[in-house]
Amino acid sequence: MGINLTPKELERELRERSLESESLIQSLFNCDRRHFLKVSARFAAMAAAAGVIQPHAFQLVDVAYAAASPDANPEVGFRFAYVSDSHLFARGMNHRFAKAALKAVEDVNALDPQPDFVLFGGDLAQDGRPEELELGRQILSGLKPPVKMMVGEHDWYFDLGEKWRQMFGPDRYSFDHKSVHFVVLNSVVEDDFWTVKGYTPEQRMAIVAGLDDGRQSRFKVGEEQRDWLHKDLEKLPKTTPLVVFSHSPLYKYYRPWNFWTDDAEQVQALLFPFKSVTVVHGHTHQLLTNRIRNITFHGMLSTAWPWPYAPQGLPPLTLQMERTDPFDQFDGCGDGSVDVLKSGTVNANYNLWDRNPRTVTYAEVTKGIKGGGPSY
């Protein structure tokens, strides 16, 4: 991508411009970094076609994100995108979290080429209310690629997943895509802490929604689901690349905030026999990387807010994002995509809004992270 457009691109731009120039100009007033690039490319094309000298403000810059298109890398087999942790309140499309989720939908739809599918990483709702989940479904229905849903604790503990399952189907399932086996888990199972205390569904949900609320139990996958996973994986050759989606990290990072899965070791034990395993998880709202034996773990960004790194237990492999700017709603938030390489391993692309994007490659995970974290 650059200001030197091929004749074909130029022709396309010109054909589109009469229809689009109005909306392009409009979009400049409401423009984020990536949109800016897109819009400015089009302006560049128009300017070039009209023989106008480019105004300095619209000079294009090469960004890593543009260069990291799966087409550009021959190792990449396919790409999927993710949107995660939108924490929606049922307060309309103008609520800040709804706007942020919509922004992620736009991001994914703008990916070129389009990803094979989009994972929603859990915590669609904030308080598990049916209206929140409905709003979420409405927002996610704008996504062009097919969507795979995963559940988070904020979706679950108002009605113990009744509405969520009714809307999105089973909370754990697996599927195969282009020779990779994908597993989606419900890793936010908690032991019953509410019955004995007589908590109402609202109270139960509010307690689980409080990250630092110690009255709740710790997350786990649970025996029943581990048995299911064991059976699901049993039939596969150990050379099949695995990608597992879980809401909580499938390892033990920081217990007080449930950055944690209590039976993580038992789940990992089921995954160790496979040659290549990647776990992609939500919940932690931060750039987070870990590797345990053959399993690589990538945390997803939230669209709603970033979380500070926990005071203890941060995996040393993690490339930390600098402290986010509270004055910028979108700083430290974002969405992302995952390139599944032909070898079955993955590169994780963090599309941080209002910061430079950062890719954590498989090579870096295994041979050492190169360079700094995502900065402005």
Binding site: H87, R91, Q126, G210, D212, W307, P308, R323, P326, Q329
Partner: protein, 242 residues
């Protein structure tokens, strides 16, 4: 009756006040005031020290300049034994004595700050307002009052009632993390002026929470500050990071 050392007591109080103002300096005074046992657990403040406890488990002597696994020289051992038997006179009190490397003896009685002590002398106690000694009941009341203030701050910090859009402080700041109260006052670059912690609290209420700012004398602001400061006491300072 309990002897009173008025001047020393007043000085200790003054020091305590200074220490309370420098809220997050988790220095000796605050630490000692909160729990004398914390300072006898071994090597603190870069000093090697060894703790010797009396058989009643209510008296202990911390010998500075000696490592916890090191044997005490005979002369030092005698000194510790003498001091311990001297302290046994105060059978009802929890006493931690400290022998500094310069042979100066200080005592902490029932978790109060360390003050100077002359062997064989009277038990040094802290004076309080009204020239009476603090009782356990006093301390229980003060603690309950403080806890109540902090609990109210905790509740507000986790509640959506300060804003209008459902958000709460704790959503971005679990356990009051990333509030770094120890860095205020400072020139808050985004506000383009010097800010106190409460200015940032109000900024958060007004912006992410879309609520109404609290007046400086609002008891809710006091409670929020109390919660944040107590929660972050002892947090690692990270100069330059915030």
């Amino acid at each position: 009756m309990t002897p009173l050392r008025m001047f020393r007591g007043a000085l200790t109080l003054a020091l305590t006040v200074v220490a309370s103002l420098a809220v997050l300096r988790s220095d000796e005074l605050l630490g000692a005031q909160r729990s004398a046992t914390a300072t006898i657990s071994g090597e603190t403040d870069g000093w090697a020290s060894r703790t010797v406890s009396a058989c009643d488990h209510r008296k202990a002597v911390v010998v500075e300049g000696v490592r916890s696994n090191e044997k005490l020289p005979p002369q030092k051992a005698q000194e510790v034994a003498d001091l311990l038997s001297d302290l046994m006179r105060f059978c009802n009190e929890e006493v931690v004595a400290r022998i500094s490397i310069r042979e100066k003896i200080t005592l902490s009685v029932n978790g109060l700050p360390f003050v100077d002590y002359v062997q064989g002398g009277e038990l040094p106690v802290e004076l309080v307002h009204g020239k009476v000694q603090h009782t356990d009941r006093d301390r229980a009341i003060w603690k309950a009052e403080l806890d109540r203030e902090v609990a109210e701050g905790d509740r507000l910090f986790h509640s959506d009632e300060l804003g209008t859009n459902g958000l709460a402080c704790a959503m971005c700041h679990p356990d009051a993390s990333n509030t770094h109260p120890e860095t205020y006052p400072k020139f808050q670059t985004q506000l383009k002026k010097v800010a106190l912690l409460r200015d940032m609290v109000n900024w958060c209420i007004q912006n992410p929470l879309e609520g109404k700012v609290l007046p400086d004398d609002d008891p809710r602001m006091k409670a929020l500050e109390a919660y944040i400061l107590v929660k972050r006491t002892g947090a690692t300072l990270d100069p330059g990071k915030h």
